[in-house]
Point group: D2
Chain length 472, copies 4
């Protein structure tokens, strides 16, 4: 039930006659990572051309353009823009002209020093055409000093925060992950070429085989000379801090993220929930789509049978806009209809992936109640969200994180359920198959893996406050 949104999805294909078309289909697989704009840049080894537009992939890019395009290298991007900046100028890939020629960049993440870098550039006479923090990267690349280098190291080593990046020049495609590896980026093999993508479901889509992830602090260069790896920062700066929320919420269940199967991870979350907060009930249901995998885990672990509790209307999409507040409730109902036959007169366990503001959850619980549920036990497959994310997840724009200001008992009363359980932090962390140290869970714990510049902190907090005051 979370409305948290990731900032982007990336895919690049190198060495394949219909690279642009494959990127196009790959973006379909990554569409859940960004619905506001989509773009594809491709090169024939000489020039780079870029198609981009607002909206879903199907709206933003005409497949006709791509079919005739025989460029063997292409990168693509889908974007979720934060409030106030959803304009075509900020759509990516960002294509610019500088002394060395053209370069296109696609970025997933958030730079924590973008504001400061930008001010320095502007003070030296640079001009910015977008409000995106990605533009500082190309300004760094254009610095005369940096231009003399073959490597991107001097540029990348100046970036702070989270960034998975794809670069496209007429000669090569480069994939980069920040030294913490906040955001995922996978590498695959496709015939004689290579593919890099935010999630492995996009590799499946384009027919590529998963090899490994790009590592934290690594830049992988693909060119006619083959594939080359470079670590652009000292080893001591490389400290994995993979975003755990990718596994809990953002990624598709059929993806491997950080080498973990998302579906299996979520099933384990569900099983842990059954272990930590067992309850006697008749049936387990999930709130589609987010709770589906955890509900199966819960059912298997508890022995309580799973059934369908909501039917989702697949025709209610992003474009369904009902701006007036009074109609919000109707839209919630339009998307999910409860199955009376499943819940009537039953003690029902409901599995969901998160509660942000609480209003959507309240509305759906109400539907179940009206459909006759006797008892409702709501179980959330992660701990309460209490802290802002400075690495690219806009919890902050979603206003009041209900768990930041209320006890669980207060939330239970607000939602009007018989019981409400969150997963504990320890239980959640135990569901990974690798060292727990390699993850960032700051939104639950406030243990931020990097220092946050004071003005970034303020920027984010001010927005939270503003949002909260809007709500109240």
């Amino acid at each position: 039930m979370s409305d948290a949104k990731d900032h982007c999805g990336l895919i690049g294909v190198y060495g394949c006659e219909d690279a642009a078309e494959r990127v196009y289909y790959g973006l379909y697989s990554l569409q859940h990572r960004g619905e506001e704009s989509a773009g594809i840049a491709s090169t024939n080894g000489k020039d780079i051309i870029c198609h981009k537009g607002m909206g879903l992939v199907s709206e933003a890019i005409k497949p006709d353009m791509l079919k005739s395009l025989k460029n063997p290298v292409a990168i693509g991007h889908v974007r979720y823009s934060t409030i106030g900046s959803n304009n075509i100028g900020n759509a990516q890939p960002l294509l610019v002209d500088y002394y060395k020629g053209k370069v296109a960049v696609a970025h997933n993440g958030q730079l924590t020093n973008a504001k400061r870098l930008r001010e320095e550039f502007e003070a030296n006479g640079s001009i910015f055409h977008t409000t995106s923090d990605t533009e500082v990267i190309v300004h760094l690349m254009a610095k005369p000093l940096h231009m003399m280098q073959k490597s991107l190291s001097p540029v990348l080593s100046q970036l702070h925060g989270s960034f998975s990046l794809l670069f496209l020049t007429p000669d090569e495609m480069v994939g980069v992950r920040d030294p913490h590896g906040f955001k995922p980026l996978a590498l695959g093999k496709l015939n004689h070429g290579y593919v890099m993508a935010s999630e492995t479901c996009a590799l499946d889509q384009v027919g590529a085989e998963y090899i490994r992830d790009i590592n934290p602090g690594e830049a992988v260069y693909v060119s006619k000379n083959g594939i080359q790896s470079e670590y652009y920062c000292p080893q001591r700066q490389i400290k994995p801090a993979f975003c755990i929320f990718e596994l809990i919420y953002f990624s598709r269940p059929d993806s491997k993220i950080y080498g973990e199967s998302v579906h299996l991870f979520r099933k384990r979350l569900g099983a842990k929930l059954a272990e930590e907060s067992p309850v006697d009930a008749d049936v387990v249901i999930s709130v589609p789509e987010g709770g589906n995998s955890a509900a199966i885990g819960y059912s298997h672990a508890s022995g309580i049978p799973i059934d369908r509790g909501f039917i989702r209307n697949h025709y209610v999409g992003r474009t369904f806009i009902l701006p007036e507040q009074e109609r919000r409730h109707r839209v919630v109902e339009l998307k999910l209809n409860p199955l009376r036959e499943t819940v009537e007169g039953k003690r029902v366990i409901v599995i969901d992936d998160s509660i942000v503001r609480g209003t959507t959850s309240k509305s759906r619980i109400g539907l179940l109640r009206r459909a006759g549920a006797k008892e409702i036990h709501l179980k959330i497959s992660c701990p309460p969200h209490r802290y802002p994310c400075y690495y690219g997840i806009d919890f902050q724009h979603k206003g009041e994180l209900i768990a930041a200001h209320h006890t669980i008992e207060e939330i239970r009363k607000f939602l009007n359920v018989e019981s409400l359980s969150y997963l504990s932090i320890d239980a959640m962390m135990s569901c990974t198959t690798q060292s727990q140290e390699r993850f960032c869970n700051a939104c639950f714990t406030s243990r931020y893996p990097t220092p946050i510049e004071e003005n970034t902190k303020k920027l984010v907090e001010r927005e939270v406050v503003r949002e909260i005051s809007k709500v109240n």
Copy 2:
């Protein structure tokens, strides 16, 4: 996996200030019944206005138009058009002017004597503006003899075949089912008004409470004088023959059809499958969306755990068009991605709702095999389709019904599965909670409940032959 398509969905709202807007949201709930065009006609008691267009509800009708519309009565229609006639002229409701004033008609079904009636009218000087068989109904209404009547009986008694109808005049809304009740039509109460809709999920959507179905051979008139029921044909002609395929395939699981819960019916189909063709296996998966309910039934009955075997890409919709044959395979993959973690090295039971041509099924089975499934046992929650439908389901246009020309063993080999089971006719029929005599299952048994005129038969068969020759 069926590509069979129903012909329409209907909804009407009487006595509600925002009737047109409710019909609009109701059509969203019925969208799965027809994606080619959508329309809404509404009246203020004096004039009738009609908005319609091609495509999904969200494309065909602008909600802006409706918001300002304070007409208290409206009917709506979504349509799936057969090949060659998908033009705006055939979109419904059909609004015409005749001696008594304006009338709008919305039709779900197929008249088996439309061609003959049309020829008679044309020979007498009538002019047709559409190629839809619905237009003969308004010509019948315009006959001077019929116009003198208060009742629709003289008109309705001349129609053969399947028809659930909604009529809208400035004075009243009328809902009708044919004497066999081939197609569903439910009646609900909404505050001081009434709602009629093809499925009860649309009643849920608009906030109405289900009362009962319109009965076979019944016309229900709603006006300022309240609600009145009329049986427009002699009792002996009323012989229920409800389309069983509505329960198996067309309707939404959260609907009640003919008073049956679709979800429970399908769970029983799954349980019967487990009983009729048990197999030792590790996991039960479904082919979304169609197999979901039956798979739960199968799992519960067999004790074999259910898990997610495919992840559906919700962004791949109707508008996704890849005209070139060579790319068909890629689209199948784009919609469903297999979950390797669920099936790898496992003996997998796959539950699906139907096999029509077999090619789509074959492609998806291939995906599972490549994802590492050790054994695949495909189970279909209905018997093989072998006969054409003359009442509105265009199996015929879908070409070769694979089961009409091949043995089950041949199909099993074609699909390359370890075992293939269909449900028996008896088992299927035993899943209803009412007398089996009340259903039409002619597409499985060839027991057609009405005589079929020779030229209709030929028309349909010619199309089947044509389609088959295209395929081979």
Copy 3:
């Protein structure tokens, strides 16, 4: 300055491989006769297809469709719809299916007995899909009695009022003028084929040579058997009554209408003005476009030099919509800018083709005054409009005909000009090169050439009254 609008323009091409494309360009030449919708119907000898849409030809019809269309016969239509009926359903050609097959009809004019005929048809069970009076024509054609005839005579002889018609069937193209010949229709030769069009400028456009007009009461059939003429009514009913306003206002100056050169006719109007109301002045200017030809005639006759007084902005078209009343003045200025150099300090004679309501004229006179004109002598190249037209010109919808309710001196004061002159009726009629008896000038004289049915009269008058009350 008149806002009176004709009802349509017609063109048909027979026997030319790119008939539809020629019709398309021909409609461009006739665009001034109707800007609300455009359509083309064409046949390959078997089927008829029809493309039509709202707006200008360039908006309504995609030339791509036509380029690939190798049908050798096509008819086209542009339409100006009266208020309240500007919908796509009323766009023409009207294409229908009846017992004999398909027929497309295009109509210029107004039937004075359409309402009565329609009521008779409806009483007999016919259904109407449009609100256009043209639809009664196809209902007449579909009458079993009429269908047995080869000729259109039985149909045409029942129509009253004004009608120039083009019919298209798979076999032939037919051009018709009513017995009074109210509306023009010219016949031309194009290589081995024939062209019929409302104005000869369209013949020029498609490369055809003008032969003669279709005569009043004549139907000309073009088929593979060549061209055949038929007079469909008794000779005594044929009484030419050509609309004089076609020559004064509607038609393009480069057309021949009723065999008269429009440009020369208007130059004679201007010369007569110089003769009837001479005035001492420094310069003659026209209000473009309408006054251009008459101004040349005035200048030549009077010896007073002509100059450009207004510059027209060619980018201000039909689509320029400023709905708010307060902005009307600004739009007038946007279309025509006065040339200060021509009028400053001068005694200026201004030639215009008409004054309807007076407000537009007043605004433009104001522009000249502010540009420094010392004296303004406004001369109108026709007499004052005082009576409604029942044959297809919607003066009536334009509300208050200022001359119907005010003396010329009152109008002069309202417009604030030094002098105002209209042409006399006798002078106007003397400008034709044929017998004055052959023209209808009822809008100036109230001498209607046909009886007007009482309910038509009332209909029109009610609208005038309604419009007037809106204005006041």
Copy 4:
């Protein structure tokens, strides 16, 4: 008949509540100066917002956006883009972010040192987002040295070539003309505010009163402190060289350009033609629109009566595209239809404003001949074009300037006219009311008022050669 195109039109409004809306209507008046894109930037004193799009003003900008916009300052731009660069990225005003904040720039003209400046910036690490030479201006503004200045002098003094500019910052609007004043820019007063525009017809449109031109080498700053003038370069560098072609061809007849009435200037051209190359004839006609004013001058001077020789179809606009070569001829006919009544059997003098390639002229002369003209005497109201323009007129892209390679007698034969006369350079220059030294007539004389950098020269010449080789 010229296809030469200017590069832009500018308008700015300061101090008027509906500034953006006035700019919008003002752009309608300047539309003839650029049909490829249009844009408006406006400020409320804090932020600047910019609307722009491809196509005509009516297509590019939605008036709805502007109506609600209460910003008191706005600038607008229409653009004619040269081949290969007609993309939205190059549409103006160009809005950028730099150290001092936001600035929007609109440019009419062509910088002759843009390529060199751009290379210098890129070598120093700057990034360009457009291919327009206007972007170097904002890079100059962003130079730290320049930013410390209040004045634009340091920036403007580095620009070579032709430039009329409008700048918009949250605080002020600035209008600039280059030291030669190649392109016009007029200053007007509107209530308590100011307007600057390329032509005075736009001042008329927005209701402003013409005060004077911005002078060559002058920058005029308008802010809440009022209006301030600054000469940004030494007096000795200011050498007026007004483009004479603005008077002959580009500007609207109802504009004052460089203080000259365009209409009167053209009438004098016509009168000089009558003096230099008299011929005995029956009638004078013009090729609309360009020849209209000169034809009046010719008629008045010669005493030979003027009449209408062509009727222009106002519905044939920019959007009329017939890509296939074979159809070019048809489009020419579609735009202008000859008036047989005027020319048949007559000796006709035809006045046109230019001949570029000769093909269009030849086609139109052919129309007159077929309409029966006995003799055709073509008179061009300027001398032959023989040299490229480096200041913003793309004769070069229009390929073979026929007069650059052929004698007048050769052209006469090619056009098939009885006589062909151009105006002499001396006669043309004598038509101005000010010193002839103040004009640039290099396209006729090759006397370029500035040195042209060698690489600019080559660039232009290469294009000419390329175009010529395409033609042959």
